[in-house]
Symmetry: C2
DNA sequence: CCTACCGATCGGTAGG
DNA sequence: CCTACCGATCGGTAGG
């Protein structure tokens, strides 16, 4: 990419353009995920990187391209983590516990992301990101549930269960659960384990007593 | 409120200030719920009401006060609906089915609302709305689950279940579920009934086969 | 990667 | 409830 002849010197901090680009991506990821696309200005991102705002446009064509790059980066990382979990041994319950423990740590505010995809982006970017979301998150989660269905651990749709893709979406919604609706922001491994047990317990056994009836199917 | 003497005439459309205020609230509710607080400008709201933008400030002190009024109105309406369902007869499963059928129709985009409460409002408004949310939505839902726990239809926390408030939060997360993650936007009563059965089935029975083990508690 | 600057739009105010 | 307007901030560009 860069010409070798002469060696391009960089006077300021010794950072290459690639390092600057990565610093912008890292900073923008944090800000966008915390506040959303619209609430974060290009000037805020630049200032947090120690740059002026027009400098951003040397690395990204416009604000939306930067945001798309941030989201695709996020989805790639999450995809790798989920595939790793799906490939490991263990039964459905154990894999789900690991998924629940893994996803909240991955700086992914799905709620925020979906709002922006649906409301702030150009249609072609919206489509592209939705496809990346399905490939990176829905597909690996659905493969875990498909295993459970195949092995007979989960009820098939004919027996009152749901298909693997539906199960993946339901799990993603439950993953939004934090104690007190996100108000208290408890943390620590004890809470993390408790939360995992609540979500996995609901997903697999539900809340009713075994003898309870009142459901069709 | 208005003085009687002489009779205040209104030349334009015969609408009283109260009617104008209600029209603003109705219009703002639709726009804010669809797009979010930040994405909707006071000029858009005014134009949709057939007013100029400064006219809004005759009825509301500022944009945030209008938004708070919109959210409190919404929560009041939802509260009435949920209390009605909670007070009716029927077991837990039937009440939950009615809740699931009722809530999506109530123009409440919880995701949007929570984002704005957490990120866009002054702390005192944020606190006030969170309390209204707990009183209007969590409390009636928790009372349904508390009934189920008391009657022995639901597992107590000691038996691997969850408390009533936690159950209310989990249900609210599941209510965000729409086919395909909100992409396809299916509708019709057949889909509504199917969705209710999926969510209530998951809440009460989970997805595992009855004989499946691998869970603690 | 900087300084300087553009037009557009924002929430809100003045004054009638 | 209007016209007229304010200062602030937005995303993005020119030119070096």
């Amino acid at each position: 990419m860069a010409r070798r002849t002469g060696g391009i010197r960089r006077e300021r901090a010794g950072e290459s353009p690639e390092e600057t680009r990565r610093a912008i991506l890292r900073t923008a990821q944090r800000l966008f995920m915390e506040q959303g696309y619209r609430a974060i200005s290009t000037r805020q991102i630049a200032a947090a990187c120690g740059l002026t705002q027009p400098a951003l446009y040397h690395h990204f064509a416009d604000k939306e391209e930067l945001y798309v790059a941030v989201l695709l980066d996020n989805l790639d990382e999450v995809h790798a983590g989920l595939e790793r979990i799906a490939a490991r041994g263990g039964d459905v319950a154990e894999k789900l516990r690991q998924v629940v423990g893994y996803l909240p740590g991955s700086r992914q505010d799905l709620t925020q992301m979906f709002h922006d995809i649906q409301h702030e982006l150009r249609p072609e970017d919206s489509r592209r990101l939705y496809e990346a979301f399905e490939a990176s998150m829905i597909a690996p989660l659905a493969s875990i549930f498909a295993d459970g269905l195949r092995l007979g651990a989960l009820r098939s749709p004919e027996r009152g269960g749901v298909d693997a893709v539906t199960a993946a979406y339901l799990l993603l919604h439950l993953l939004q659960y934090q104690a007190g609706g996100g108000k208290a922001e408890l943390s620590g491994s004890r809470w993390t384990a408790h939360r995992a047990e609540i979500i996995v317990g609901l997903m697999l056994r539900g809340l009713a007593e075994p003898g309870y009836v009142g459901l069709e199917g």
